[in-house]
Subunit: 202 residues, 2 copies
DNA sequence: AAGGCAAGGTAGACATTGTCAACTCCCTCG
DNA sequence: CGAGGGAGTTGACAATGTCTACCTTGCCTT
């Protein structure tokens, strides 16, 4: 009986995991602390000992997703040809969105309450954007170009727009009723990367 | 006293308008039929005579936003050079998003309730996408190209991704903590259109 | 080692919400 | 003129977020 003695950290973890499970099965709007507590077999007030409010447990789930996402992108910076690295990072961006549509939509498609109240989340977002800028700068250097910060930012914003737009559309429910099927999206994705590459050529 | 006699259609309209007002002031998650009814000074059940459920009133608001949006884009198809028309439509897309960030986020940034349960909402969405495809097709024709539906769809998806991504990022709160200022976004927007144009050249 | 003490967990209460059912009012159509 | 039905009202019920008051238990202080 070494368990259920000091479950403090355990319950917090379990709440986060179970909250994600609830969102996955019933949607984010059906997330309720009582449902989480019920599934975990604890009282309806137990989660309140770890999260001040429903918004805070949701923010906790989102923060975890951001951390995962950043780690996912980080794995692409293994060193090597900057152009290939950059492309790999773009692919990883969409891979993550398609492998974890739930988390992606939570991060970028859900109105989060008080973004400035969760600085860790924003820090991760800044980190991801900085990775993209860094990749662009390295690629430009490798090609002998000297880009100003402004130019890097503009290119980064263009790429980010394309990737985020595609990811958001892909993980949205609109696609189904627009008549798009998986193999269409596969082709569209390849076309997107091709188009972005073409636009980046001087 | 010619009013409040047959307010049937009026109440439906008033509900939609007031629902949008509620969303604007308190956020979409605080939209409740009872709050709408309270603001309109009617009983908490009155809206149910026009909308079967809370999701249906939300879908009604979104459908109206899609219709407005499509009308906004439609104004660009006044005839003339298809290439200029298409560019104007892209500008109108971002203009709408920046002029009506609330509605834009409702349409594309909110988990919509059961799309197949609200065919009118999806019909409006399909219409907006069809406008983009139509613009692309006309431009290709004017240039003497014969594009297959697949190619049109892929180009449309690329453009839509770029526009939507930019619009979503622009209307999000991330920008602030990323250090972007309005004139940066102005330049980034011009750069985006330039890049998209470059990518569309064969 | 005894006694508190604070963190973690439980139970009950209250306001608010979505939604169902039964009721009233009044216009319209036969 | 009277029946019918659409529009609106009232009442009720379950579920939820959140507050307050209680219990439990391992640890720390003296």
């Amino acid at each position: 009986m070494t368990e259920s003695k000091r479950p403090s950290r355990d319950l917090r973890e379990a709440c986060l995991a179970e909250a994600l499970a609830v969102i996955a099965s019933d949607g984010v709007e059906k997330l309720s602390l009582r449902e989480v507590a019920r599934r975990l077999g604890v009282s309806h007030q137990a989660p309140y000992k770890h999260f001040p409010s429903r918004d805070h447990i949701l923010a906790g789930v989102v923060a975890r997703a951001f951390a995962d996402f950043a780690a996912y992108l980080d794995r692409c910076l293994a060193g090597g040809d900057p152009a290939i690295e950059l492309e790999a990072m773009g692919q990883a961006y969409l891979d993550y969105a398609s492998a974890h549509p739930l988390e992606y939509r939570l991060m970028f498609g859900t109105p989060l309450p008080e973004p400035e109240a969760h600085p860790e989340m924003m820090r991760q977002a800044r980190h991801a954007f900085a990775l993209l800028c860094e990749g662009l700068r390295r690629k430009a250097e490798a090609e002998g170009l000297a880009l100003s910060d402004e130019e890097v930012n503009r290119d980064a914003m263009f790429i980010w727009s394309g990737l985020h737009g595609f990811a958001a559309i892909s993980t949205s429910t609109i696609l189904g009723s627009l008549g798009f099927e998986p193999h269409h999206m596969q082709a569209a994705r390849a076309h997107l990367f091709c188009a972005i590459g073409k636009a980046l050529k001087p």
